[in-house]
């Protein structure tokens, strides 16, 4: 019965896809893309079916190789995991559909390895989400990270430096996490998340677990680009190729945030409440929200602006986690979805601009852009309104739950930060929108013209994912109550 195997099927199908796509791609170039589409498409379907099943029948556990959990590796398919996997694979599928033409333009030589690395990246992320084993999480974290370094390095001329910096910092982060796992293993003698959770309260003292938790939070905080551990992010996202940053930005940091929730809420739970982890996360997130937004205002390159905006948006998620309340959790998880869809839309739009105009600089933008690409511009506008948090787009509701959570915690400064950040977002997104829609094309200062042969929208394989994701921003906003009631509320960890 294949149904009971599906928790493991998603990462495995992506891994197999990554391995198979290289020889097939070397044989016939177009096959690697076909494999990528099949693998991501299959994983989306599997995640959707799995989520549906789990919502009906409750969580599923799968023992790898038939070894029972405390010894063998366990995969856990609960609503939260499948929800996040659905987000990851859904965005991944959209970007894979989009990638063909953009890759042909930006890196025509190496699209075969690029596809394989992208699949590896998605496999790593979905493995991180599905696993119920702390060490296995590290393994998938490294798979995803190594793939991410490669995705960055495949970008433009300055990308290798950014990738190297990302590699150094990312390795520090992963090592911190691994050290944490080591300490935890020392204290509890187990690596299985559920097992560790059961053992922890029985320990005579918590010195080792607390050191472990601190190390893991720092490591995952670095991976999720929590301020001030975000310094690798702007360069990496800016200099990666359009497709590369479209893979990385929407889901890369989110899965680290998810892992943080798993470790903090799922493994440690009430034991960790003696440590001020939540307060620390909140402070770092608030700083990230403000600094990210302010830095985003100062950027003259669209991708770089979006990168700094990611730092701010990760702050939203960190804030929701740090509040450690059911409403904060809802806000954080919903924002994982919302931000993934919004940021994917925005990065795909910036890729389409790069495809048509050869640049993503904000300064020379003018209304010829909107004239040439009305639908792309509209999708950008919707996603931008959602980033600002205007109803009825998805971003409004992230803001709503986070504001409720802050009010519940009676922390007025946080409410003010959320309000302020929405206005800061308005400043830098309207700066782009104004140029896109209102600035007249002038003779001397213009975007290097679109190739005369094919002016207009990006090709359909790029435009359709943009439009679907843009529409998704609206639909998620309208359906947010349904998502929260049917999925996220079921996933609220016990003890919050």
């Amino acid at each position: 019965m294949i149904g009971e195997h599906f928790p493991v099927l998603i990462p495995v199908s992506l891994l197999v896809g990554a391995v198979v796509s290289v020889p097939l791609g070397l044989w016939r170039g177009s096959l690697s893309r076909l494999v990528a589409l099949l693998a991501t498409g299959f994983s989306v379907v599997a995640a959707g079916v799995g989520l549906r099943h789990v919502l009906r029948a409750g969580e599923m556990r799968y023992s790898l190789g038939g070894w029972p959990p405390p010894i063998g590796i366990e995969y856990v398919a609960d609503p939260l995991a499948l929800f996040v996997v659905l987000v990851v694979t859904g965005v991944g599928f959209a970007v894979t559909v989009y990638s063909k033409r953009s890759l042909e333009r930006e890196s025509p030589q190496n699209h075969v390895p690029f596809n394989a690395v992208a699949l590896l990246f998605l496999a790593g992320l979905s493995g991180m989400v599905m696993t119920g084993d702390l060490f296995n999480l590290y393994v998938f974290l490294e798979i995803a990270s190594l793939a991410a370094y490669a995705l960055v390095a495949a970008g433009e001329k300055r990308a290798p430096v950014a990738a190297f910096r990302y590699l150094v910092l990312g390795t520090v982060g992963a090592s911190c996490y691994l050290l944490g796992v080591g300490f935890l293993y020392l204290a509890t003698g187990s690596l299985n998340m559920a097992d560790v959770r059961a053992i922890l309260p029985l320990l005579p003292h918590y010195r080792l677990p607390f050191i472990a938790l601190c190390l893991m939070v720092i490591g995952l905080g670095l991976k999720m680009a929590l301020f001030p551990l975000h310094v690798w992010l702007p360069d990496a996202y800016t200099y990666a190729s359009s497709v590369g940053s479209a893979y990385l930005a929407p889901v890369g940091t989110k899965v680290a945030a998810y892992a943080l929730m798993r470790v903090w809420f799922g493994v440690f739970g009430p034991v960790a409440y003696a440590l001020p982890i939540g307060a620390m996360l909140v402070v770092a997130s608030v700083a990230g929200i403000l600094v990210g937004s302010i830095m985003a205002m100062a950027q003259n390159d669209l991708k770089r602006m979006l990168a700094y905006s990611s730092v701010a948006q990760v702050g939203y998620i960190g804030l929701g986690i740090g509040l450690a309340s059911p409403l904060g959790f809802i806000g954080a998880v919903l924002h994982i979805l919302n931000h993934a869809v919004m940021k994917a839309t925005l990065f795909l739009v910036s890729g389409a601009l790069a495809y048509r105009f050869g640049t993503t600089s904000i300064l020379p933008m003018d209304d010829r852009l909107r004239r040439a690409m009305p639908w792309t511009s509209a999708a950008f506008a919707v996603a931008a309104l959602s980033m600002i948090g205007l109803p009825p787009t998805a971003g409004f509701f992230s803001k709503w739950y986070l504001a409720l959570a802050c009010l519940k915690a009676e922390s007025w400064p946080l409410v003010a930060v959320i309000a302020l950040s929405s206005l800061l977002n308005a400043v830098y997104f309207f700066r782009v929108l104004e140029r896109m829609y209102l600035r007249k094309a002038s003779a001397e200062e213009r975007i290097p013209g679109p190739p005369a042969s094919n002016p207009g929208e990006a090709p359909p394989s790029m435009l359709i994912p943009i439009l679907i994701l843009g529409l998704g921003v609206l639909l998620i906003g309208l359906a947010n109550a349904w998502i929260v009631e049917k999925v996220i509320k079921l996933a609220i960890p016990s003890g919050l």
């Binding site: 309104l385 600002i388 504001a403 009010l407 206005l423 209102l438 309208l478 109550a481 009631e485």
Partner: protein, 508 residues
């Protein structure tokens, strides 16, 4: 009040939203595009008109759509207050649409499709605001209105228009965020956001200090759109927009949504009991009184006709807010009646200003010498509307001010009464010089022969029928509603029904 399920409020909101899609789709065919605008306006008005008898019979149409957030439904409810506001805005949308067609074509404006599409979305949001049954639904439509009006404010796309748009967004987005915070806080405290006549937020649900903070937040959210000083700065700046937009902003949609928000919050969130227990309405009344006088004084300084009208608007909106703050039966009814009568009169005045711009390219008051001879109908309507705003009988401005004054006396606030009188005099003071110039002075000799490309229009007669008819209709409405306040739309009965429901906490 009994409620019954009905989809009419939903259709009333949806029809212009659908029309905006059709408008965008038919951008290449202007006549078809204008057909969508006008038919949506007609359908919307007819739909809302069907709700009037029900509202008068104490029956409230309600449509629960779906949960927009856990525990909060997107709900539209056509209670008397909502029907009143929706009626005013949808009726005036019809005339504004006709006028817009004439104005935009008369000036051969660019991007007319965007203009008409945004206009339609604005009206959807306005009716959504009117029918919103809870605060979250209200906030959603309130923000939609902000976004839909932005492209209208920056329509000309000149640097001044763009910077006016920035200012507009800076004010209104901040207000929206503040309102959202207040809404979230209310939800956190009470667990409900449902509007209730007489209010749902009180000493039993929240401590006094919290209520005060909430009131401040709610009012600063609402005061931006209702242009209460010192949050009025965006409004004169936004005068850069085309005149029909100013007419919409100042008479129908944005600022009226602001005062409507004030009435909703005063009457249906806090309620008279909570407010008087905390003495909050006094502060609101002081602010409104101050704005009323200051704006009127500032209006004297403006030579640009539209800017003078803008300051006059700021002053008259404060009449409505002051009426709501006095919390007596007559003042609340008067405040609502003034919402309607200011709408008809101010829209007339803006239409006239636009007609002068289209026909004579005159925007300054100092250029208006003798224009009444060139455009007799237009200036006739201008005279009717401006005298109405000054409060002369038998115009509808007199009726609403009568009730406002009566309300001030009921509340035993002679100061408020004196302020109403003074502001009326000031209104007369800044409108009469315009009338004097237009009617009594001889026309200035036109020295420059090639002032504009539209030469044939510069010779003296009224603008095209698309422009002149709407302004005559709104002027006639001001007169008719002054003579028979209850004729046609039952404004008088509705206003009294609302004030009863607020003051008696919903029990008949």
């Amino acid at each position: 009040m009994e409620t019954y399920g009905s989809w009419v409020p939903v259709w009333a909101v949806a029809c212009s939203l659908a029309a905006s899609g059709m408008i965008l789709a038919s951008s290449r065919r202007p006549n078809l595009r204008e057909f969508w605008t006008l038919s949506a306006a007609g359908v919307k008005f007819a739909l809302i008109l069907t709700l009037v008898p029900e509202a008068l019979a104490h029956r409230v149409a309600e449509a629960r759509l779906f949960a927009i957030a856990p525990g909060i439904d997107l709900t539209l409810r056509a209670d008397p207050l909502g029907v009143f506001f929706a009626l005013v805005s949808s009726a005036l949308w019809i005339v504004t649409s006709c006028y817009s067609v004439g104005y935009m074509r008369g000036l051969s404006e660019h991007k007319q499709t965007r203009y008409f599409a945004c206009f339609a979305v604005c009206l959807s949001s306005t009716v959504g605001i009117a029918f919103a049954a809870n605060l979250l639904t209200f906030v959603i439509f309130y923000e939609m209105l902000t976004i839909a009006t932005y492209p209208l404010v920056i329509h000309k796309e000149t640097p001044e228009a763009v910077s006016a748009g920035r200012k507009y967004l800076a004010y209104t987005l901040t207000a929206g965020v503040v309102l959202l915070v207040a809404t979230a806080w209310t939800y956190e405290l009470t667990g409900t956001l449902e509007f209730r006549p007489g209010g749902f937020l009180g000493s039993e649900t929240a401590p006094a200090a919290t209520c005060v903070w909430l009131f401040v937040l709610f009012m600063s959210g609402a005061a931006v759109k209702s242009a209460l000083m010192p949050l009025h700065g965006w409004l004169p700046t936004a005068m850069i927009a085309p005149t029909p937009v100013s007419a919409l902003l100042h008479a129908v949609a944005v600022v009226k949504a602001g005062v409507f928000a004030v009435i909703r919050i005063v009457g249906f969130v806090f309620g008279p009991a909570t407010l008087s227990a905390l003495g909050l309405q006094t502060y609101l009344a002081c602010l409104a009184g101050l704005t009323m006088i200051l704006a009127s004084v500032l209006a004297f300084h403006q030579d640009n006709l539209k800017r003078r009208l803008a300051y006059s608007t700021i002053g008259h909106l404060s009449y409505i807010v002051l009426g709501a703050a006095l919390l007596t039966p007559a003042s609340l009814a008067g405040s609502l009646l003034h919402l309607a009568s200011h709408a008809t009169m101010k829209i007339t005045l803006f239409f006239c200003a636009g007609a002068l711009h289209v026909q004579l390219h005159k925007e300054k008051i100092s250029e208006l010498d003798g224009v009444a001879r060139q455009m007799p109908w237009t200036m006739g309507a201008f005279a009717v509307a401006s005298l109405g705003l000054a409060g002369l009988p038998p115009l509808n401005g007199f009726v609403s001010k009568w009730y406002l004054g009566l309300g001030a006396l009921q509340a035993a606030q002679p100061l408020a009464f004196a302020l109403f009188l003074l502001a009326g005099l000031l209104s007369a003071g800044y409108f009469l010089p315009i009338l004097y110039r237009a009617f009594c002075r001889a026309p200035q000799p036109e020295a420059e022969p090639s002032q504009t490309p539209h030469q044939e229009g510069a010779s003296g007669h009224d603008a095209s029928a698309w422009i002149t008819f709407p302004l005559l209709i709104t002027a006639a409405l001001s007169l008719i509603l002054g003579l028979f306040p209850n004729l046609l739309f039952h404004f008088w009965s509705l206003a009294h029904l609302v004030s009863d429901s607020i003051l008696n906490g919903g029990s008949p």
